[in-house]
């Protein structure tokens, strides 16, 4: 007991004499226990690869959005009170507009730097959603969503969806002619919901469209509700990234049981910290040279006016495509109207997003794989998954084309009708086609990898053999490359076994198992992957003919 307390005093004394910085750290450690955290994380290892920066870009643009957003709240008035404009922008003088629009004009024309911050905020929002989408694709195509990271996949997906809606509520706030058209679109879509549509519409707008409430309601949703949820999800997302430790690519010395890279302090901290400034700098420069959302050119919202070529921000473009190419089906029965032409797109909209979100769970169910995966898949080694992801992207893109059908028509002198029909057919055909093509490309690449491992890499040097034949000299791959190219697992498809058991009794196989076996065969069966070379094959070839 006495020795223990002695030691404690000693330690305290040692701490007492330390330099100021250390004393401050000691103070914090005594209250917050920071040394435990620092021990685990300060030299935490992060693998390096360019694609791992995409998540960082999302994170940094989120921070930029928060910083600039807070600045904007200092000047923006979320009110639909009508006022007459008498600010410095001459073309709108004397025009009636909501206070929301007027205060946005004020920010743009009277607050020094206000326009810059507004434009940074909007540019960062575009980058944010784009970076999340590309980051999600990186996670998808490399299989980084597999156990133990499924929960983080869901967090990320929710961030993407919330990010889209935060963007939508955000660009509706200035109450300009362009965004008001988007709000009207949303109102019409809500009205198409059977049974409760009109109630939802009245409750959201506080009465008939546009009413006097939606700007202030969207404001709360945009600056508090959604960002709050997103901040919580983001923190959870990052904690899980730390906890799981980052995935890495296969390579010499990199196994499923280790993580190879450079430590957080100093390298990763400098690179990641520096990267924040790079992203911020680029977005600030964009805001300086490229005008975004010039609300003064659109004018204030009037429900009886519209600007031609109205387009939402890009991430909402696919919903625009859905609603444009859908035939105008409307059913009138028993005194009720079902506006399928709007309601079906409204249903497909979340379905498009959810399709990609559920894939990891379907894949896990089909493979029945319960191991932890920390080594990333090369997309070519999982042709069905890669094909599916590519098909999804093509689906998204074809809808985006549909969303701009008028722009395509005027720019390329095509008829809107032709574009609409192309998109309608493409909606079904293009994803299927993309799937098949992508899968083929993957198999081709697998075959090339196999050849490289077995026959070495082409050197471009032509040699003439004694009997006159010309051959290209192949150089055997170094061992680290051979290892990297063969490090992936090749799962066997699930077999159901014989229909009858050893006693001749028919076994009962339920439908779910049958489906699972079928999917498994399509993912890992014949024609879904090229068998990777074995050591025996390699030995046979290398010893067989000496000229390699």
């Amino acid at each position: 007991m006495s020795t223990a307390s002695h030691e404690a005093t000693d330690a305290t004394a040692r701490r007492g004499k330390a330099p100021a910085g250390e004393r401050l750290a000691d103070w914090a450690d005594g209250r917050l226990g920071i040394y435990g955290l620092a021990k685990a994380n300060m030299r935490k290892i992060f693998p390096d690869h360019w694609s791992f920066m995409l998540g960082e870009v999302s994170l940094y643009s989120f921070v930029i959005i928060i910083l600039t957003g807070v600045y904007l709240t200092l000047f923006f008035h979320p009110s639909m009170q009508e006022v007459v404009y008498n600010g410095p922008y001459v073309p709108l003088q004397g025009i009636r507009m909501s206070e929301a629009f007027e205060s946005t004009m004020h920010i743009s024309f009277e607050v020094r730097g206000g326009l810059l911050i507004r434009q940074i905020h909007h540019w960062a929002a575009l980058v944010f959603v784009a970076a999340m989408l590309v980051h999600m694709m990186r996670v998808f195509f490399t299989g980084a969503f597999r156990k133990p990271r499924e929960v983080n996949w869901v967090f990320g997906f929710l961030l993407l969806v919330l990010g889209m809606f935060t963007g939508f509520t955000g660009y509706s706030l200035p109450d300009d002619l362009l965004s008001g058209t988007g709000v009207r679109f949303m109102e019409g879509a809500i009205l198409s919901v059977p049974i409760v549509g009109t109630y939802l519409q009245m409750f959201l707008f506080g009465g008939e469209f546009p009413g006097h409430d939606f700007v202030s309601r969207f404001y709360t949703i945009h600056i508090l509700l959604l960002p709050g949820i997103m901040a919580a999800l983001l923190v959870g997302h990052l904690i899980l990234v730390f906890y799981h430790k980052h995935t890495q690519w296969a390579g010499p010395g990199r196994t499923n049981k280790n993580v190879v890279g450079m430590p957080l302090l100093p390298v990763y901290m400098a690179k990641a910290g520096g990267f924040f400034f790079l992203v911020f700098g680029v977005i600030a420069a964009c805001a300086a040279i490229a005008t975004i959302n010039p609300i003064w050119a659109f004018g204030p919202y009037r429900p009886d006016q519209v600007s031609t070529g109205a387009q939402p921000d890009w991430y909402m473009g696919f919903s625009e495509g859905l609603i444009r190419v859908m035939p105008g089906w409307e059913i009138n029965l028993w005194g009720h109207t079902l506006q399928l032409g709007v309601f079906i797109p409204l249903i497909i909209f979340p379905l498009v997003l959810v399709t990609i979100a559920v894939w990891p769970f379907i894949e896990a169910w089909v493979t029945g794989d319960d191991r932890e995966h920390h080594i990333l898949d090369r997309p070519r080694n999982r042709p069905v998954r890669t094909g599916f992801g590519a098909a999804w992207i093509s689906w998204y893109l074809i809808l985006l084309v549909g969303g701009g059908n008028d722009l395509w028509a005027t720019h390329f002198h095509l008829s809107i009708n032709a574009i609409t029909w192309t998109v309608r057919i493409g909606f079904f055909a293009i994803p299927a086609l993309t799937f098949v093509i992508t899968k083929r490309i993957c198999l081709g690449l697998q075959r090339r990898d196999r050849d490289k491992v077995l026959h070495g890499r082409e050197t471009g040097i032509i040699k003439r053999l004694p009997h006159g034949e010309f051959i290209e000299v192949h150089e055997p791959l170094p061992q680290d490359q051979m290892h990297t190219l063969t490090a992936h697992d090749q799962p066997e498809p699930l077999e159901l076994g014989p229909d009858v058991d050893e006693n001749g009794v028919r076994r009962k196989v339920d439908r779910k198992t049958k489906l699972r076996a079928k999917l498994s065969r399509s993912m890992y069966g014949e024609g879904a992957q090229i068998p990777k070379p074995t050591a025996a094959e390699h030995a046979e070839i290398t010893s067989g003919h000496g000229h390699h």
């Binding site: 410095p88 009109t198 190879v260 429900p303 709007v342």
Partner: protein, 351 residues
């Protein structure tokens, strides 16, 4: 899931290949050779190169400081309304341009400096760190379950059914108050979407001139927009009223009108239609005088004004509602009532 029927070995999960780690049999050409040795960079062995990197980083940080000074100077110097021509961006606000670029450079240079520092001077030696299974060990798992069972047992939750049921009841009822509180978010729909401001005898007011329209004001081939008499632009609820009442008027040749009811509801070939698209409610704004088609710019629904406002192209689900008009004793165009059917997008109760 039950898979008694199939042998577990066939599941991919059971085929754990020992590819990882250098545990392959000797002579395996694909065996993991382990981490390659670290290759030093120029900066690691040549102090002069390292010093050059140092200067580059310092230069970038200095550039950032200069840019920040430039930012503050621009803020003070450029008047907010100064427009300048800068190739290739065109006419831009001098203040916005200067602030954005100086801020951009100030931030970017910090980032570039930090990244250059990390890449050229900080150790680039890759080191391995162990991973540990996320799953707890079986002992921990057992302990947790035992603790949980013990806790539940001590609460007597399982035994005291009465407490359990009433507590569930209370907890599921209490959020109802929150739901009830949302009731006043808005009024009930009732018949609100069925009617507009138009009434019998109301004059059609030209949106541009604010004057009542006479038949002779409506020329062939032009689209005229009208609002109901008595609706002033600065009325409190102007936006909400015009969102349903907006009207477009065209003059057709009476013999061009294909629809009988349309002809009845017109006045000397002048027809009045709702301006609000029946798709999702954009205002229609384009008129093609040869074909008498109007086009909604939002999703290109096209309506034939000479044929009862029928949809001829696009995603709209039904024809544009027509307003019955006539001329009053003073020779002004007037409405003969409200629209017969709801205007704008469809809704469940529309029927």
């Amino acid at each position: 899931m039950s898979n008694e029927d199939m042998s577990e070995e066939n599941l991919p999960s059971e085929r754990e290949h020992a590819h990882h780690g250098a545990v392959e049999p000797v002579g395996d050409p694909f065996a993991d050779p382990g981490l390659p040795p670290h290759e030093p960079r120029r900066q690691d062995i040549d102090e002069r190169t390292a010093r050059r990197s140092e200067r580059t980083v310092a230069l970038l940080f200095t550039l950032s400081m200069i840019a920040t000074v430039g930012f503050i100077a621009s803020y003070v110097i450029f008047p907010i309304d100064k427009i300048v021509y800068i190739f290739p961006f065109g006419h831009v606000s001098a203040l916005n341009f200067a602030l954005g670029l100086t801020l951009g450079v100030a931030l970017f240079a910090i980032g570039a400096g930090a990244v250059h520092w990390a890449r050229t001077l900080m150790s680039d030696e890759e080191v391995p760190d162990d991973r540990h299974a996320i799953e707890a060990s079986p002992e921990v798992r057992e302990q947790v379950f035992a603790d949980f069972r013990q806790g539940v047992k001590e609460s007597q939750y399982g035994r005291r059914k009465l407490i359990r049921t009433t507590m569930m009841g209370a907890l599921s009822l209490v959020p109802l108050s929150g739901v009830v509180l949302l009731r006043d978010l808005g009024p009930l729909p009732e018949k609100k979407l069925r009617t507009t401001a138009w009434r019998k005898g109301m004059k059609l007011i030209n949106q541009n001139t604010d004057q009542p329209l006479r038949p002779e004001d409506i020329g062939v081939g032009s689209l005229t927009f009208a609002k109901p008499e008595g609706l002033s632009d600065d009325a409190e609820n102007f936006q909400t009223v015009i969102a349903k009442a907006a009207l477009m008027i065209v003059r057709l040749n009476p013999e061009d009108i294909k629809d009988k009811r349309e002809l009845d509801w017109s006045h000397q070939g002048i027809v009045a239609y709702s301006k609000i698209c029946t798709h999702v409610g954009c205002p229609i704004s384009l008129y093609e005088q040869q074909t008498h088609h109007v086009l909604c710019p939002c999703h290109q629904s096209t309506f034939d004004l000479s044929d009862g406002g029928r949809v001829i192209f696009g995603p709209a689900g039904h024809a544009l509602p027509q307003l019955r008009i006539s001329v009053n004793a003073q020779g002004y165009l007037e409405a003969l009532g409200d629209f017969e059917e709801p205007v704008g997008p469809s809704f469940w109760e529309r029927g």
